[in-house]
Symmetry: D2
Subunit: 436 residues, 4 copies
């Protein structure tokens, strides 16, 4: 976790205090059910919840100090709770293993992280939609291979991004559902010393589903799927970030990250305004993608479990969630305040002297009876002149002067082929599909 790439809510979720809070909830809910089942006194859960109702401070240092002696984190925590709650606390954890607490806690943390990320995605989608509507009909050149192809609108670019992040949202919802399971099944997962009803009770209270079969641990294919889903989202972040970096290039400059009036882009070069936010996002995307790999390697634990996944998750649990939360929020800010330059879009589109309409002329000639080969030759010979003039000549002018062309296609018809609006007749259809 890099502090400058983190936000408080998500970070708090991965702090020791929060972890211990979830531990307590799991233990208290379990004790409650054990009481109902007659395994422990009903008074035990009451004592725990009464203390909890006082909103006690989680004393991480005290727990650490106990752990330094017991060498066992869960026992240290239980000891600290017992010191605070008193004798009734000894009924906690009956028939459970540490993994029951640790794995269910990780499930809660990842599910809650997913909730934050879903809210991040909602905010991002809202920002993209707002700017898409704003620029629904702002003409700009569509580029394939980085080369001018045919016109699109800036709104269409954003509609694509919307549809992509909407898919990311659905994927994350599915990943959240997968990861949000509860395992309280005892050593090697047989429920030998704990009734499955305890698991069901805790699951219900924490909003989790029951892990159908655990083997002391919740199976790690769930986590692999979760972190792989974050990796896919990171890919989509990179795509939009790279788009903006391209648009801000000096020669293109069709859009820019927001730059406040008094801001300095460079201490040495007053002319510089760099797309540093989206460059930053590009790097963060690389990290989030990388975190999926060890999660995939974690799946093949030995037999009922080994603990090799644990060190991995101490890194990627917080690092992937915190970084993705930050990245989504940053991207939302970038989109929200993005400076868009329609005039420059138009100017860029015009710089090739209308070459971008060559396909329509070609088709029209063909439809008017010129063979495809001839049509291609006619358009190309004029197009090449425009190309060589570096945009000083225009294709329409040259075509109008080419008698072979005008024999097949009148001036009015020719001109109509250079109509920008022609390309936008289905923008509404696409917006309808995307935004409903």
């Amino acid at each position: 976790m890099v502090p400058r790439y983190s936000r408080p809510d998500m970070t708090a979720l991965w702090e020791p205090e929060e972890k211990y809070r979830i531990w307590f909830e799991i233990e208290a809910h379990a004790t409650e059910k054990l009481g109902q089942l007659g395994v422990v006194p009903r008074s035990a859960a009451k004592a725990l919840w009464d203390w909890w109702a006082t909103d006690p401070k989680i004393d991480v240092e005290a727990i650490d100090a106990i752990e330094a002696v017991t060498k066992h984190d869960v026992i240290a925590f239980l000891t600290w709770v017992a010191e605070n709650v008193g004798d009734e606390a000894r009924f906690m954890h009956q028939g459970m293993t540490s993994s029951d607490v640790l794995d269910t806690t990780l499930a809660v943390q990842l599910a809650r992280s997913a909730d934050i990320l879903l809210a991040d995605l909602d905010a991002l989608l809202a920002a993209i939609q707002r700017r898409a509507e704003e620029h629904k009909y702002t003409p700009t050149i569509g580029r394939s291979h980085g080369i001018h192809a045919e016109p699109v609108t800036f709104g269409l670019k954003l509609a694509q991004a919307y549809a992509e992040f909407d898919r990311c949202r659905r994927r994350l919802l599915a990943a959240r559902e997968e990861i949000a399971t509860c395992a309280i099944s005892g050593a090697v997962g047989t429920f030998a010393n704990i009734d499955p009803q305890v698991e069901e009770h805790v699951a219900e209270k924490l909003g989790l589903s029951v892990e159908p079969v655990s083997t002391q641990v919740i199976p790690r294919d769930r986590h692999a799927m979760f972190f792989s889903t974050l990796a896919v989202i990171a890919g989509s972040i990179e795509r939009l970030a790279v788009e903006i970096r391209h648009l801000q290039r000096t020669e293109v400059l069709e859009a820019e990250e927001y730059f406040s009036p008094g801001q300095k882009g460079s201490s040495a070069m007053p002319h510089k305004r760099n797309p540093i936010l989206t460059e930053n996002l590009t790097g963060q995307a690389r990290m989030i993608r990388a975190y999926a790999l060890p999660a995939l390697e974690n799946v093949a634990l030995w037999h009922e479990r080994d603990i090799s996944h644990s060190s991995v998750e101490r890194f990627i649990g917080p690092d992937a969630c915190i970084t993705l939360d930050f990245a989504l929020a940053r991207l939302t800010g970038v989109i929200d305040k993005l400076l868009v330059y329609p005039k420059r879009m138009q100017a860029n589109m015009d710089r090739m002297g209308g070459l971008i309409h060559s396909q329509r002329v070609l088709l029209a000639l063909t439809q008017n009876g010129v063979s495809r080969e001839d049509a291609y030759r006619l358009v190309q010979r004029n197009a090449m002149k425009v190309w060589e003039s570096d945009g000083q000549l225009t294709l329409l002018d040259l075509l109008k002067q080419d008698e072979e062309v005008t024999a097949a296609l009148g001036a009015e018809q020719l001109k109509e082929k250079f109509d920008l609006e022609y390309h936008f007749k289905h923008v509404d259809t696409i917006f309808e599909r995307v935004f409903g």
Copy 2:
């Protein structure tokens, strides 16, 4: 693609013939709709389908020869079709771009690959379930960290695998749904020269959904999700493969890959029977995981599209699908014919002189009023003797001779704590959860 790790049906799907067959279907369906819309003569589609009904041989070499001249694969194919169908064929491809054909074809190939993989998973699940039922109550030791923990059944191990691959099945279904989209939207995806109804028609005919917004290409986050899902499945394959490799170790030998009567394990060492199939699967899993990475990097194409994804997909499209198909089938065979040795399982479980029941004695002493500290000390001092005897002494015998122990726990009570069945009382619950 490595021939020895491939099966014919999946491989055929990625052969040029099949690709061209899908190309034809897309073009013919599109022409059909263009005819209905009055853009081209209705006779065009009829001519195409009439020819297709003759089940013509796809002449890959002839198409290649044309491509050598035109330097364009789609044009080469259209030319070849025109040579066969005649003049009506010139109406094909009206208003479309090559990407419309290529990307929709890839969608069809991946969707059909997913169908094969889903069938593979069904077969695997059936094999696992059969063996799980067979060994529902076959006792075996549960191991955490590779160390004996407490008893489970071999059926439970397989129930875990079943639940895991069942999740994989659901993930693959979702990935299939995501990838199965159709884009026929023309250059830069604006439908400028082709009606969106054509796309809808082709999509319906091919069993695809409509890509809401394409930008000449189908967005690559879909493919990233697809290949990431295959990677997760590979992780689960590795887990089960590693389990079997462990079980076949000389010292463990609780199960073995099938070994036919006359087979030689090693030309030099007649005693060898190696788990080579599952070792092989382990390596294949590594490959399938690796293929997800470039798919993730493919997401961030430049602007409306660049073609950097294309070379990647020429590798990972066939390689990931073919290898996973092979791996699932091989794993199914391994499970189906797995040699299981219940006696050895029992022998291994017994080798520690009953130490695996130490927890229950500890709990019973506590419940009978011995303090936890004392109980631990009592059990441990006997357990250590058993440990040091390397299984020659048994814990039950020693405990019966320990007066401090027997003061709290009678012989009958003690014996009951060593009951294996105690651990299996919820096997049925778990099976019910997993197999329904």
Copy 3:
């Protein structure tokens, strides 16, 4: 391996015929030494080499047919050789294991692949150097963050690429040295049934060094290092490919992949010339990087060896080497024939009205006694006007009219700050460092 991304020499190295040829050499050299040691008759090696001298055709199908019966590739090969050579062949392979042959063969294949790749790098370096010298003083704008910064030369860009690929060359040499080891040490590597002198002899004959300690297999950290090195080279290929893709963008167009006179960039849009070769290289780089991962996972084989590495290497051995060979050759072609447009470079540099010289004016004002704050303000207020004029105004003109500026800096001095040559005074130093 994708046929269209492969070249014949490298591909041949990974064909079965070549593999069998190397197998034979290893076996024959070993038999030779065994003869000298008196373990087998000296006549055995002679018989083998005599047959080999007839340049016999390697009959892959015949060997495959035998393998179908024996289920063992090395035994099948030995049987086929025996069928051809006769009785003396039975002395081959004495005291060896299959891995001795397989692993040493892989070492030979990788070492020879490295030789081809080193030659590829030499060709690439030569092409880069030639173009660097050609454009040593061709001015072009240096860009940070995609934004104009200060002037460089196109030769400097290429000098950087040269230095980078020269480092790649040295890394590959080191990786080649690491991988080129010979292991002939028998089952589990103890030399129990074969004298270490055999290993030394075979190593010397094949130009390999001796593996100091093998455990039936050559340790896979060597291979991990080899494929990681290829991955780093792929990164450098991507860097140069991306540079060219940027330079060919419509708005930049400072360089282009070669485009032959009659070539069509797009069947529909006559104006298109796409950087498809470098886009292709970008995708290939992603694949080559991905292949390093399973090689890294292969390191941790179980005990003396498991065979999980084998299926991985059947993929990545040929795929990584063949693809990298192709990519290096393609990049060489791109560089060799790259169309470079110095005029456009100059035009792009000029489009910001001299803003790129703002730093020098700032420094000069400071040196002439203006406070840094005032200097920044003076330059910025003029720079902003230039910026807003979109290059219609020039910074030099405005500064000359700004009395506060001219009070500190005379017209002549001002003009001198806009001198392009100033930036190139150390080009020679850098070239000296890079090209020696």
Copy 4:
């Protein structure tokens, strides 16, 4: 960075204080040379070094407070230095860019990290060597595929590990040399405003070499190589960790991580002693491998530089170095105190009734004139009985009773084939090769 997986020296190297200390050194050395070149007063460097000689506290909070205003980290630092040093400090940083400082600092940090890691490797190598000498002739079974093969010694296992980490050491030395370069070349790397002699001076003072051609940044192929090298080392750590995890399995138990007398393996199960340190190392290895990926993606920066590498390096710089340092130290501790059980090794080797000697009998029969087919049949029919007896019968006994066998091989000769020492005659050769 996860605190529990970090050690103080390495961590300190990545703290802000240390970073600022290196910044100061670079700036002061540069100022010194600028003074010698007459660009700034010689008194400037003196003032800086005089202040530095007072060992001033680096006030990170004060610098942060300035950065909150200036929004520029290097300017904030320079301002803070100026506040402390006084007027002379204004000559610092003349003609330099921030990247000159940042990239050279990263080079220093990585080089110093490499020094720590090299020392770690030395300690690890020493521990391995000590244990290897100790167990040079401790017999243990060699296992391929997890199955007993033929005898080795425990010392040989460790000799392999030694050779592997010795290669890692050499790789790290090479990576260190690559990464230890200094770039002080100004904006876009042309030395336009700073003399190359400054770079040479700073490089020499900091023990770095000169970056031949930088483009504002040090090229990232160097960093890719560095982190890839760490990834390979991680693979070797995993290999040795997995070996120990295997050896500690209940059924194998030939070695164990150190377990102190009073220690509790599990609060619930007194019999448990888990290989948690090496499981932990396995997970850490996965992380260190993962960090190589974004480093590889960082290579292809846009044009002279973009800043996408920066966020990546804020993660992987500290995380990869700190985690690897911790892992190497932990592995050293594990090896140093590893509990080794030669008796159990012997017992495991004996459990198959001498089957592991089957190859030698086979060879001896062949050498005495029995055909290979007959010899195989004779050995196999006895071996199978031993196999089925689960080690109750021994191969030697059975062979002695088989008349067909004894007709070819006398009792004495037979017995000799079961000699363990036979396998160890070249242990010395191998040790000589490895330890010199």
